[in-house]
Symmetry: D2
Subunit: 452 residues, 4 copies
Amino acid sequence: MPIQTENNPAFARIPPWVMTKLRPKAIETIQAVYDWVETECIPAEAVMKEQLAKDRWKTPALMHELRKKAKAKGLFNLFLPNHFKESPGLTNLEYSCCAEIMGRNYWAAQTMNCHAPETGNIELLAKYCTPEQKKKWLVPLMEGEMSSAYSMTEPDRASSDATQIGCSMRKEGNELVINGRKLYGNASWNDEMGIFILMGCTDPTNPSPWKRHTTVIVPSRSKGLTMKRNLTIMGYDWAPEGHGEYVYENVRVPLENIILGEGRAFEIAQGRLGPGRIHHCMRLIGQTERAYELALIRCIDPKKMPRGKHIGDFDSNIERIASMRLEIDAMRLVVLNAADVMDTHGNKAGRYAIAQSKILVPKVAAEIIDECMQLYGGQGLTQHTPLPEMWTYARFVRVADGPDAAHRHQVGRDQMKTAKSFEVRHREYMRRSKELARQYGTEDKSMDEDML
Amino acid sequence: MPIQTENNPAFARIPPWVMTKLRPKAIETIQAVYDWVETECIPAEAVMKEQLAKDRWKTPALMHELRKKAKAKGLFNLFLPNHFKESPGLTNLEYSCCAEIMGRNYWAAQTMNCHAPETGNIELLAKYCTPEQKKKWLVPLMEGEMSSAYSMTEPDRASSDATQIGCSMRKEGNELVINGRKLYGNASWNDEMGIFILMGCTDPTNPSPWKRHTTVIVPSRSKGLTMKRNLTIMGYDWAPEGHGEYVYENVRVPLENIILGEGRAFEIAQGRLGPGRIHHCMRLIGQTERAYELALIRCIDPKKMPRGKHIGDFDSNIERIASMRLEIDAMRLVVLNAADVMDTHGNKAGRYAIAQSKILVPKVAAEIIDECMQLYGGQGLTQHTPLPEMWTYARFVRVADGPDAAHRHQVGRDQMKTAKSFEVRHREYMRRSKELARQYGTEDKSMDEDML
Amino acid sequence: MPIQTENNPAFARIPPWVMTKLRPKAIETIQAVYDWVETECIPAEAVMKEQLAKDRWKTPALMHELRKKAKAKGLFNLFLPNHFKESPGLTNLEYSCCAEIMGRNYWAAQTMNCHAPETGNIELLAKYCTPEQKKKWLVPLMEGEMSSAYSMTEPDRASSDATQIGCSMRKEGNELVINGRKLYGNASWNDEMGIFILMGCTDPTNPSPWKRHTTVIVPSRSKGLTMKRNLTIMGYDWAPEGHGEYVYENVRVPLENIILGEGRAFEIAQGRLGPGRIHHCMRLIGQTERAYELALIRCIDPKKMPRGKHIGDFDSNIERIASMRLEIDAMRLVVLNAADVMDTHGNKAGRYAIAQSKILVPKVAAEIIDECMQLYGGQGLTQHTPLPEMWTYARFVRVADGPDAAHRHQVGRDQMKTAKSFEVRHREYMRRSKELARQYGTEDKSMDEDML
Amino acid sequence: MPIQTENNPAFARIPPWVMTKLRPKAIETIQAVYDWVETECIPAEAVMKEQLAKDRWKTPALMHELRKKAKAKGLFNLFLPNHFKESPGLTNLEYSCCAEIMGRNYWAAQTMNCHAPETGNIELLAKYCTPEQKKKWLVPLMEGEMSSAYSMTEPDRASSDATQIGCSMRKEGNELVINGRKLYGNASWNDEMGIFILMGCTDPTNPSPWKRHTTVIVPSRSKGLTMKRNLTIMGYDWAPEGHGEYVYENVRVPLENIILGEGRAFEIAQGRLGPGRIHHCMRLIGQTERAYELALIRCIDPKKMPRGKHIGDFDSNIERIASMRLEIDAMRLVVLNAADVMDTHGNKAGRYAIAQSKILVPKVAAEIIDECMQLYGGQGLTQHTPLPEMWTYARFVRVADGPDAAHRHQVGRDQMKTAKSFEVRHREYMRRSKELARQYGTEDKSMDEDML
C-alpha cells in the first residue's frame, strides 16, 4: 500500500516541486526515517543524556543499540550517493528530506551513520582510496564499527587559507614522520575513534602552493599523538564525540596510508566538500522546526499567562511566530534547491548554491532559535529546554568549514567577474537609447554621459 | 530550431527544477519577452520619459506604438490563466519567469497588457461577469483599448479591515446612488481610464458583515465623480496612470453594472487576490536584478576609484555584492515556489506561499536597492540612476494590498492554530520518555515536569 | 598628587560631560578599581579557573584572598548609595564608571562585593529591615561573610507578571510554613550561601492583587528546602554561585523574618530594582570593550594572515571594527545618562532611562561579542578565548529581570499615554494652518481633513 | 521671570546633564526657537507649499517675511560660534538643542539663517577670508541678503577622495579660467543664489596631492557657468534651493576671489566640516521626533480601528513605538555628546564623535521614519503626511559629506592603530598569568600559547 503523503507530518513542509521528484522508494525512506526519529530518537533523549552523564567520553550503550537496530532496518548510510554499490540510491534532494527529519534530534543522524564527519570521510575514502585502503578503513566506517576524524585546521595559521597548512610530514624510509599541532578533529578520548584523515605538508618548497600538501590516514592510537584538551563549543564539550586539540610529535605512519598520492591533498579537499555542507544545513532546518514547535507550545502554555493572556495571544508574538515560519520555509527552499542543482548539474556546478545555503541558513537558524529562547524567558536559556544546545549547534555551523565572511568573499569575487558583461550590455542600451532619441526627436541632453 | 537555454541570459537565473517544468512553448515565450524587454523597452526608457514630460496625464504615443507591436507579436495578456480561451496557456510558474524579465523595466509589463491593476481586474471580470458585461468591459480591457481601476480603500476606515468600508450605495429605481470618498484607484486624469471597479456598502444593517457590500462598475466620466488630487508615492506622481483621491457625490450607475449580485463583494475580493501579488513580487525581483547589475557596473567604473582602487576591489563591497546576490536568489525561490504551489494545488492552497512572497520580497528588494544606491554615493539618489524610482516601487509594494504587518498577523494566527497538534505530539514524547527512563533505569527526576 | 586622567586608560572612554562631574575622590576610586582589575583580577583568571575546576561549588581560596585584600584597600561595597553611613559616597554616575571597569573580568565585581545579587539584596535589606534584622543579615553581607539569593520566579507562572506568584506561605503560630517551587536564586550547593530573600503568597484571597504577597528571609539550610538541580545558562553552570531550582516542602521560618510586614512584597520589589539594572549594563559594556580589544588583537595577529594580509587589513573588517566601536560608545552614553538621571531626579524618575539601558545594552553587547567570536573563526567559539562566556553573560542579562519584550511593552504603554497631548497640539497646528491659508489666500483644499 | 523648564515641551527631551550646562541665555533662546517653530513655522507649512507651487525656483514671499521677522527677534545666525563678534554666543551643545527644535519643520532653520550650506559657508568665509572678502561675501550672507553654494563633487571622480578633484583652474593674467563639471551646489535657478565656493585644481603636477587644489569664489551669474539640470533627490526637486548640475566653460574670476591662497583648498576643506555635520543630525532628530508624534497620533486615530481596536492597542505596535522612542533618545545622546566634545576639546578632538553622529543618526532616523510610514499604511507614502519628505531628508544625509561606509572606514582605520597597545597589555596579562600559575601551583598547560 503506497504511503499517504497528504496530511502526513513526515511530508508536511516538503514543497510540491520536491514532492513530484521523490520516487516511491524515497517516500518510503522518508517515512521510515520519520518514524525512526519520532519513536526511537526523540523520546530517548533523556535516557541518552543520563547514560552519557555517567561516562562522557564513551559512546552510550543506547547509541550502539539504536545503531544496530537502524542498520537492521536498512536505515544506514542513507547519505551515500548513487554511484556506490552499497548506496540506498537516494538523490541529494531525496536525502535532504531525510536529513531535515534527522535534524529534529541532535544525535539521530548518528544512529543512521549519517553524521558528520563520517559522511564526508566515507565519501572521501570511497572516492580516492585503493581497494586495500577501502577494506581497511572504509568498510569499518560504513559498517559503523569505528569512527573517524578529519584534521586540517591549525592554531598558527589562517584556517580559511589552506595553502598555509604547516603540519610537517617528512618522509623517512617507508614512513612519514609527522610533527605539528591541529585543532578540531573528533576526540580520540572516545575509544571508538579509529583514524584521522590528516592534511599536512610534505613538500614545503614546491613552487606550486597547491602541490605541497598530502593527505594521510593516521590511526588514533599512534605513538606521539596526544589529545591535549577537549575543545568546547560555547562551553559544551559535545561529548562523546567532541572536538580535540592535538599534538603530533614524531608520529610515524607507513607511506601506504597516503591517500591518492603525495602532494594531492588539494584535489581531495575540493572533492570532500559539497553535499556535506547542505546536510548540516538541512539538519539545522529540522532542528529549527523543532525549536519553532517548542515556541508554539509555549504560546499556548496555560501556566504562562502574563496579564491573563496566553503568550500566543499577544500579537507581537503572533508576528514573531509568522516571521519565524516564513524564514524557515525560505531557507528550506534554498537548501533543497542546492541539492537539486547538485543532482542536475553536479557538485561543481552546485558550488554557488551550496555556498548560498552555507552562508544564509546557519545565521537564520541561530536567530530563530534565539527568538524561541526569548519566548521562554529565563527558562529558555536553561537545560529545561533543548534550545541552548540547538542554538549552539547552529552557531557552530556558522564557522564550520570556514566563517561565513570567507564564503561571502568567494561568492562576491565570482560575482565581480560578471560585472563586465553587464557593463557591455548597458553600453548597448545606451547606444540604442541615443538612436531612439534621435528617431523620436526627444532632445539628447548634453550631460547624458552621467545618466544610467 | 529549439532555443538554446544554456549560457542564455534570458534563462540564467532560473533554477533547474523550474527549467524542467517549462514547456517548449513557455521557453519560446520567455525568450520572446526577454528580447522584447531588452531591445524595445529598456533602450526606450529615455524617450518614454521625454514624451511623458510633455503631458504627464496622457499615455505617451510610444506606449501605444509598443502595445500595438507587442499585441501583434502575441505578447499580450500573457498572465491570463489557462482556463480562458484567449489565454496563451502559461502556468503561473511559466508566467513568473516572464514577469521577472518584465520587471527589468518599469513599464514593460504595460506594453504587454500585463500590468497592475489590469491583470487583477481582467481576471475578476472574466470570472464573475455575465456575457453582456464581459462584452462591454472585459473585451476592451483585454484588447488594450481602455484601462481600469480598482477602488476599495477609504480615508476614514482601517483599510486592512474591508468589512468597515463605508462608501454608501443606495438603490433608487434601477440605479445605485453612490456617495463617499476613495483613495487610490488609477487616475481618471488620464482619459484612457474607462471604469472603476468599486466596492461599496449597499446593506449596512445586514447582520452578516460579509454580506453588506457590493461591487459595481462605475464609468470614470460619471457625473458627480471627481478626482481631487493625484496621490503621490514618496513624491512621485506615478504618471500617467498614477493614483487618485476621489469624491463620489450622488453618482448614479445602473443596477446592471453590479457584478455577481448585491452583497457579494467579499466573494469577489477573495477571488481577486492571489496570482497578482506574486506578479508584483516577480517584477520586483527583475527590477532588483537590474539594480544589482547597476551596482556591479559601478564596482568596475574606471572613473570612480577612491584611493586608487575600483569600488569593487574593496572587500567590504565584495561582501555586500555577495549578500545581495544570495538574497535576491533566495527571494526568487520563494516566489517561484508560490507560483508552483498555485499551479499544483490551486490559489486557495497557495494563500500561505503567496503571503510569504508578499511579506518577504518587497522588504528585501527595497533593502537591496537601497544598498545599490549607497554604492553610487550621492549620485545614487538622483535621477542619474533609475534606482530611486526602483526603490519607491519596492517600498510601495510593501503597503499595496495591505501593510506587511497585516499579512504577518494572518500568517501568525494560522500558525497558532497548529500549536495544539505539536503540544499533543510533545506530550506523547514525554510519556514515552518516562517509559524509556523506567526501562533503562535512568532516574526519573522529580521536577521533570519543567523539562521539555 | 592628583591623578592624571589624560592618556590614562582608566579614563579613556569616559565622555567629557561625565569627567566634569567626577569628584576627586571618585577619580581616585576609578583609578584604584582600574589598577585592581588590571593587576589582581585579569591576570588571575587562569588560576581562578583552575581552582574552581577542582571543586565547582566551593568559592575558590583565591576569591577569599582577593576579597580580603580589596576590602583592606577600601574597595568594598562601592555601589552603596550615599545615604548609607558605610557608603564610599559615590554617585550612580561615578559608580557606573567603576562598574564598567569591573566588567572587564567576570568575577572582579565579586572581589569588591559589588556583584549581583548582593548589590540588590544589600540595598533591599538596608532600606526595609529593622535594626535587629540588619544586624543579623545585612552586616554579614556587607562584611562579605556570607552570600545571599533573591527568589521570586516560579516554574508554573508567567514570571513577568509577579502578581501571579503562587508559592504558599501559611501562618502557623509564630511561624510561616512555606510550600512551593522556585527557579533561580543562587545555588545553595555553595555553603557560603546563607539566606534567600523569598517572595511568596500569604493572603491569596486579598481583593487587591498587590497586597497578597510577602517577602521573608529563609536561611538556606532550612529543613524542607532542597536544591534539586543547578540551572545552567546556555550550558554553563555559572559555578560556584550558579542558579538553583528549589523545592520548599513545609519549610518553617519565624514571623520575625518577614521584611517590612505582611502583604508588602510589592513595595519591596519596586524598591529593589533600579540601580542594579544599570550596574549589569555597565559591566556588560566593560566586558564588551574587552571582547572588542581581543578582536583588535586578532586583527593584527601575525599568525593569521589569509591571502597574505592581516585580518585587520581587510576593509570589511575595518568597517566591522568601526561599527562595533560606534555602538559600544553609544551604549555607554545611554547607561551613563541613566545613572545621571537617577542622581539628578531619583530612581523613580529614572525608570524610563533604566529601561532604555536594560533593553538596548544587552542586545547590542551580545551582537558585538558574537561578531568578535566570528573574527576568531572556529577558535572564537572554544575556550581558547573568553568570548563564549562573555556572550553568554550578555545573553543572560537580556532575560534577567524579565525579557526585553516585557520592558518594551512597559515603555510602549507609557508612550501611548503621551499620544493625546501630541494630537491636541497637532489639531492646533491644523487650526492655525487654516487661518493662515485664509490670510494668505492659498486655497483651502476640500479634502484637507486627510492631510496631516 | 525665569523660564520654567519642567513640564515644558521645549525642554522635555533634554537630558539632565545637558540641562545643567545650559546658561540662562541659552534657555531663553531655546524657548524662543521653540515658540518660533511651533507658532510661525509648522502652521505655515501648507501656505509655504502653496506659494512654492506657483514658482518653484523662487524663494516664497512668506520665507522672506519670516526671515525678516526672525532676524528682528534676534533669532538669526544662532549657529555662529562664540569667537565671532556677531555670535549670539551659544555653545555647540546649546545650539544643538535649538537645532533639534528647528528640525521639526524642514525650512525653519532657513527662517533663522541656520540652514545648510549657509552655516558651513559662513564659518568658512569668517575663518579664512580677508576683511575685503568678508565685506563682499560674508556680510550679505549673514544679513540674509543672498545665498551661497559649496561646490566640490564631480561626476567623473570618486567624491570620497577629494585629491582626485579635476576641475581645471588655469591662471591667465589676474584671472582664473575655470573648466569642468560639478554636481550638487545649490541651484542657481533661484536668483538669490549669489556665489559658489568652488574647489578646483590649479596645480595638477604639484608633487603633493594636498597642494594641488584651490578654493575660489565664483559669482553665480558668471559667463560660461550653466546649470544644466536640477538634481533630484529620490525624485524631489528640493526647490527652491535644490541641487544643480553645473558646467564651467572658460569661466573667468579675478584672482582676488581666491580664499586663503593658491593650493590651500585642503586646509579649508578640513576646517569646513565639523559642527555642520551634527547640525544636520540634530535637525534629523527633531524631524524624527515629529514623525514619531505623527505615528502616536495614528495609534489613537478613532477612524482607523482594524478589528475594532485602535492601532495603538496592538501590542506589536506598542513594542514598535517603544523601540522608536528608545532609539531616538539614544541617538540624541550621541549627538549631544559630540557637541559637548567639541565644546570641551575642540573640533579636531571631536572628529570621532562627529563621525559617530554622522554614521549612526541618519540610518536610525530613516529607519524610524520608515516604520512611521508603515504605521500609516498606504497613506503614509502619500502627500497626506510629511513622512515621505522626512524620510528622503534622512536618506539624503546618509550620503551627504560622503556615504557612511567612507566614514566607517576612517573610524575603523583609526581604531586599528589602537590594536598594538591592547596587544602589548594583553601580553602583560599573559606574562603575569603564568607567574601566578606558578605561584598558586595550578598547572601551566603545554598549549597555553593558544589561550587568550
